[in-house]
Amino acid sequence: MNQEIKLPQPRRLEHPVIWIGVIGGTLGSIVLLDRIAWLALPLILAVVLYYLVHPFLLRLQHWGVSPNHSLGIFLILASLLCVVASLTVLPAMLNSLSRFQTNLPDTMQRLTQIASEFLQNIESRFPLAKRAGLSAGLQARIDFFAQGRATQFAGDAALFGFKWLPSLLLVPFLTFFFLRDGTAFHQMILRAVPNAFFEKTLLLFDRMNRQMHAYFRGMFWLTVLDTVSLGIGLWLLGLGMGIFTLWQALLLGLVCAVFAWVPYLGTAVGGLVAICVCALQAPHHPQLLLGVVLLFCGVRLLDEFVYTPATVGRALHVHPLVTVMMIFAGGMLGGVYGLLLALPLLGIFTVLGQMFGEIWFDSRLRARHTARNLLEKRLASNDLDL
């Protein structure tokens, strides 16, 4: 009589060991990436570029271009873009940087004056603030910064640039090889997977690939939407005062949108940067500052309820409490790295955890793997007199 084999249901993400593994893996990776940041940064940037460029190559292949030719076409276009950028944007950027350096002392002084006036205004209205000595405290900090610290910071910034330049030069190199040999590398990894776990592992790779693809593409479109919303908003706000041209407003919007990559905190920092810029450009228009604050609140709401669900939101199905906790833990362990990478890493480890639960706790798959090992052993010892 045939014995009915009832396949056991695999345990999924709810298993506590898997949850601990997911959180531990995410935090461990943040610490590790922080330690080898000089290698991790180009690798991460190359992966991001890979996911942004790959759809373009697929589109070319869709039109009948071979994979190698599509990569060649992309390289030619990217090189042309670099040449055009270095001929047009780079001189303008260097020019702006030089002007920024010349104007820095004046800008700092004006910014300090605005902040002092603002704090004095608060102190005159609230005695508690006066007792705390907000204005004097700010002045003391600025004096301390001015006494030589500024030169040290400038030196550190220059060294920082030199330190990261060789590492960043690796990015196009790595991206090229990811694009060219990605499939072969994927095949090589899968060849090492035992037959019993093969299908599930492939499913894991596919889910992970989709997750990362959705996340990076989502982030790209979110940045574009934020840039356009903030840029146009800032331009409209400053329209009567002649503060920004449209391009300058879009550039400021882009800077704030990039800050917003750091969840929750980034928007606040971006808003602060925009307020500082507006305060410098139009110090006697407090309604403009109020407008900027309202604009940032509005864009934040749009982000939360329209943009993010339409772009990144569908990619990561993680509870908001876990998200916030992981961002703070990531920030504590890995600084800016941790803040930026906490969510994508959590997404990857969640998928890994789910699949690990499905593979490792599936006793039937493990039994099949053991049976294969026994068959192999029997085959190897067939002619031996044991």
Binding site: N2, E4, L7, T183, N195, E199, L202, L375
Partner: protein, 162 residues
């Protein structure tokens, strides 16, 4: 003296030839088979090794390159043997269309080699090469309709369940 002909293509990989002879890929051109190659996962099975179990979630199709596989299904009283699958044949095609539980268990009868092609990868390939995707999809549909017809006529064979 014999000069090499620069217009003659190098011979097709014999394993790809086997893939091209299977019903699903029989309409594919040489170039399409070459494009398919990076997505084919070669797996080696020992005699007696299970490829997949009945009831397991199916993710793709297996194309037999060498060796022999046996298909069986749980019966009321005993295991029902549904036949064997030989080189140039494939099993598990339904999983190319949808992730559904496997309808039978497949075991290697002798040391065998099979290529696995997964639904997700075929979908990705079809995105970049829609013509190839269409050819494969239409062949799978033809295969399924043929089997359904045979099943309705009462001539079930092993492949209906794989």
């Amino acid at each position: 003296m014999k000069f090499p002909n620069p217009f003659r293509l190098p011979p097709l990989d014999p394993k790809l030839k086997v893939v091209g002879s299977t019903p699903i890929f029989q309409d594919c051109t040489r170039q399409e088979l070459e494009n398919l190659k990076p997505y084919l996962h070669e797996r080696n099975y020992l005699a007696g090794e299970i490829v997949f179990d009945e009831g397991e979630e199916g993710e793709g199709v297996y194309i037999v390159v060498s060796g022999k596989f046996r298909v069986s299904r749980k019966g009321m009283l005993k295991k029902k043997n549904l036949g064997e699958i030989l080189p140039g044949e494939c099993f598990g095609e339904i999983a190319l269309l949808k992730s559904i539980p496997r309808l039978a268990t497949v075991v290697a009868e002798e040391p065998s080699v099979a290529f696995a092609l997964f639904r997700s990868e075929l979908e990705r390939l079809a995105d970049s090469r829609p013509r190839l995707g269409f050819k494969v999809a239409i062949q799978v549909a033809r295969l399924m309709s043929g089997r359904l017809q045979r099943l309705l006529e009462g001539n079930s064979d092993s492949h209906i369940f794989s």
